[in-house]
Amino acid sequence: MAKSSSWVPHIEAFVDSSRSSSQQNESLEALASLLRNDVLTIELLVREMEMYLTTTDNVIRSRGILLLGELLARLMVKPLENVTVHSLIGFFTDRLADWQALRGALIGCLALLRRKSSVGMVSGSDARLVGQSYLQNLQVQSLAQHDRMLCFELLECLLDRYSDAVAALGDDLVYGICEAIDGEKDPRCLMLTFHLVEVLAWLFPEPSGPLASFAGDIFEILGCYFPIHFTHQQGDDFDIKRDDLSRALMLAFSSSPLFEPFAIPLLLEKLSSSLPLAKVDSFRYLSHCVLKYGVDRMGKHAKAIWSSLKDAIFTFSLQGNIFSLASDLPDTMGFEENDITKEALICLEKVILQNDGIFLSLIVDDEDVEMILRSVTISNSYNSLSVESKQKLLAFGRIIVVSAKISSSSCDRIFHFLFPRLMDILGLSSSSLSLECIPYGSPVSFGQLNFGAIYLCTELLAACRDLIVGSEDIAPQSVLMQVSWCCLLQRFSGPLTTFLSSSLVTSMKQENCDANIYSGVKGLRTLATFPGWFLPISKSIFENILTVFMSILTAGCEETLLWKLSLKALVQIGTFTEKFHDSERATSYMNIVVGKIVSSISLDDSSMPYSLKLDAIAEIGGSGMHFMLKVIQGLEEAISANFFEASSKGNLKSVEVLIPLLECFSKKVLPWFHKTSLFEDIVFHFVINIWNQMEANTTFNIGIKANELLDVTMMVMRQAVADCSEKNQGLIVQKAYNILSSSASFSLKEPMPLSIPLKTEGLQLTQNLQDFSCRDEWLISLFASVIMALRPQTCLPDVRVVLELFMSVVLKGHVPAAQALGSIINKLPATIDSVEVSRACTLEEAMVIISKMNLWSVNGNSSFRKCNVICKSVENLTDLDISANNNAMVQTNVLVGLAWIGKGLLMRGHEKVKDITMTLLRCLLSTINTELLPIQHGLSGNDSGQDMHPLVMKSAADAFHILMSDSEICLNKRFHATVRPLYKQHFFSIMMPILLSSITGSDSSITRSFLYRAFGHVISNTPLVAVITECKKLIPVLLDSLAVSSVDILDKDLTYSLLLVISGIIMDENGREAVTENAHIIINCLVGLLSYPHMMLVRETAIQCLVAMSGLPHVRIYPMRTQVLRAISKALDDPKRVVRQEAVRCRQAWASMASRSLYF
């Protein structure tokens, strides 16, 4: 046991009120840890503290008691003996009477009462004594906020944990609580008081108990808080929101049925308040209370509740916002409910759920409802209804939906009440049977199209359908069939279908009946989506509906509202049948809808535009797996038939058909498969099919539009192959390779040993590829697409041959081949461990092949020599006697190839990319290399030789764009590229010093301009974060390169992306300093761009940047103010509105810098 001298000073420190609060806290913690570690016992401490606990000095006594209380609060989990607990609680119970030292006593009581039984807790009788002492001694409302909160916590703790013990206090307790909570205003305390009432109600549930006698008083206290008016800003220390308070109060309100006589009248009264919040809250409380108070008590309020609900729903629904026809979904027709209506409808649902008998009779017998029904069906067309009637109609629809959806019996009641009348109004009931023989499509006279009735009818049907679908698993069909509304529906379903269909046909011919169309389509859709086992809707009706929609679909020659809705309805019906595994209906759907629409692909009826047709097909296919399979089949057939026509006969029309077909396939169908990833085989067969066609067809000839078709086909090929598994990909590659090698023009042979000088072979290849036939171009392009989309694990046949083939094609300027090369390089394994794959090739080997091939003449020196590529290829080609212009072409082609290979390397993080970039750089710097110029002069033999250099240099600069930018076509995640994280940043940090030093080092303006271009490509594709860390050095160069790029109209995209980099730097906090330093030149540059004529976005962004610049320290920017204002005043006259508006903002920002005056 520690010596008393070691810890007594802590007590003294805490009690001494002259010490700082941090000192006091330290000694408190020190004592607590001593106690926790059994160095000190609580008994010893209390004995030592005796003087502090009993002295007559109020201050010291209160500090002493507080110390003991706080210590106990920190020892909640330390076991204490029952005797100790007993004597401690006895002490604190007494101290509750000591108002000067109350805080400590409250904390002590709380700490003891909250102890768990395992560590020694307060006994029930002691707890009761605490309660008694509390009730006798405490005047809660006279205390300060924190003490009040402690008091409420103490009460809450007593009620929660010692409910039996304190329940014995009976009336005293309830009265005491009433007194304590009366007039409380602090939100934190209020949360507690509301909870107290709730617990109290749970404690005394009996109707003649203590609560019953005080219910009125308690409610009087609670009632004045309703509705909660709470204006505290968010971000207070205590984290209480209005919603929390409102919810706590709601729980208190609904805690006991004893509150019913007080609460319901209050809520009903508040419903008539003009405060929207009060209304919302009242409905929310009502819904909650209704369930808690029970049927018996609520019965007498039913009438009053219904009339308030009615008022609220009819008056507040959709204020000002009638049918929002803008939305495409028919479900959301016109319903942007406000909160009041929403809560009212929830409340309506709750009350009907509780007592459907009374409420349904109230609804059905209500005279107002009757009147509304009459008023909304009085006029026929939607447009002739008054705004008020429209509102009422929609609100009425909502009421019907909510009440019919609740249960089978409520549905029955509403249905019987409404349906026959609606049928009467629509004129279907009297001659219900004879109507069935009205042939489809005969227009109904406009007089019968009563919009109100149709609307209500569709809403009602939708509600019934939802009920049936929702209750499918509970109610077997036999039970359902006995419900009488089903018979009624069965009787009318035929005529109704006919009626709605002809109403749609009628509305097709008229304008301005969007509302009719919505209702008609919705009604038919609802009828068709009643579950199949539900007999009222027979198969023939289902098929009729499908036929109607189909006829609308196929008749549509443009995308009208009706067309769109019908398509959507068909898709929904399809999804529904698929979801409910309704085989009979699925068959009908398949035959009528899918079969017909698929067969329409090949039909050449011009009534429907082809793109619309394809849209419809894709949408309908998406509604279910089986349907999709059928659609795919149809599409495939169409594609292959057209492909044959187009490729062998050169049929122009087929080409035109094929392009949208393939586009549809790649944009709609393949993504669907990509999502489900189940039907890989189908995709595989599709690809193989195309290759078969390519194989079979030796007289390949597509005339005009061939390129467009090729592009689309390549896209489809890439996407399809990318979705296949490794195994299938392997098969596809093998097949493609075989076809390719059987083609005469590609003499694919085993690669020559690398030692043989490649020069001759290079020549040979170049000769062979003098020009492509159409078929060859297709073959090689499609093969390249396949290669691009392969997975890294798929093994390639004869990599060496393929590499050489592609490289030779690259020379011809075939970009896909270059991309394929890049993809191969990107995905090749670095090492191969299995010997069996003899034809496989590692990355290293491939690189060797490439370096040998690419240079044609490495001359035993494997490193890239200065401009070897260019020089040597130039040399070779001289022999071939090609004109100088072609030379430049070949050189640029080589550069493009190099760029894609470099991209592949860069993305996988291979260091060889350095060699390639060095080559590119050398090309850029080559004008100063005078040794090259004579060669060119020599070989071209005329002055035009000088012209080709800039072209080559430009493509070398653009190679950096290929290297850095993200490509849509290949080398991305979709096509399984190997991507090293942060590869762009890495490349950026390597390249920047080199580029910067070469820019400063170059003395030719042409060279510099191309270096700027390369720099621009690199920097605009680098993530901004990396740029900003370096921005001090970069800004001047960036501005120069912007100035260079803004000269040419062709470079507008580069200009824009560079400007975006600058704006990123300006906006970023970390770039601020560098921007401030360079403010002058930045502003000069931006001002220059204000009149950039080629792209509006550039002007707009430049102005936005200027606005941002105006936030810099005034000392720096003030000198430029006049210049900026002058330039901006010109921008005010910009032809584009957006620019003008930005200019106004900018002008204001810069003008207000000095004074408010704009004069300068």
Binding site: M1096, S1129, L1132, D1133, P1135, K1136, R1137, V1138, R1140, Q1141, V1144, R1147, Q1148, A1151, S1152, R1156, L1158
Partner: protein, 154 residues
């Protein structure tokens, strides 16, 4: 001079939704009344914390533009017949347009016919270059105008 407000109890109308223009990058973005209206609708009334739009002093229909001739005509309606603030409002309109519109437009500002007791003199005052310039020389007036134009109270 009467103390207190000239129109103590104006009728306040709801602000209209700003119509987002449809993005039409290739269309012809000529200056139209809505453009001008968007500039001036938020000018604060000299004596109330409401915008000219809210007080119905201005509307889109009251502005006409002829881009060929480079003319803008704004007709505004003071809230009451003898409103001495009419000239101030007109001055605000003129200053704002002067600042934010290309100077080749000729701006005419008038009160709506029959809406003001001294219609003619107000119109004359507002369209007299010299008098506008002189008014803006007056620091008190200048301050009042600036407050109305740049007010953030709304």
């Amino acid at each position: 001079m009467t103390l207190g407000l000239i129109n103590a109890n104006p009728i306040v109308h709801a602000k209209k939704e700003r119509i987002a223009r449809t993005e039409d990058l290739h269309g012809d973005d000529a200056v139209d009344p809505l453009d001008i209206y968007d500039f001036v609708r938020d000018i604060r009334d000299p004596e109330h914390p409401y915008s000219l739009e809210q007080l119905s002093v201005l509307s889109e229909e009251s502005i006409t533009v002829d881009e060929k001739l480079g003319r803008i005509l704004i007709t505004f309606t003071p809230t009451i017949q003898h409103c001495s603030m009419a000239t101030i409002i007109g001055l605000c309109l003129r200053v704002k347009l002067m600042n934010y519109f290309p100077s080749h437009f000729k701006v005419d500002i008038k009160v709506a016919p029959g809406s003001h007791a001294n219609e003619e003199s107000v119109n004359k005052q507002l369209n007299d270059k010299e008098r506008v310039a002189a008014a803006l020389e007056n620091p008190n007036l200048r301050q009042l105008v600036d407050e109305c134009i740049y007010s953030n109270e709304l």
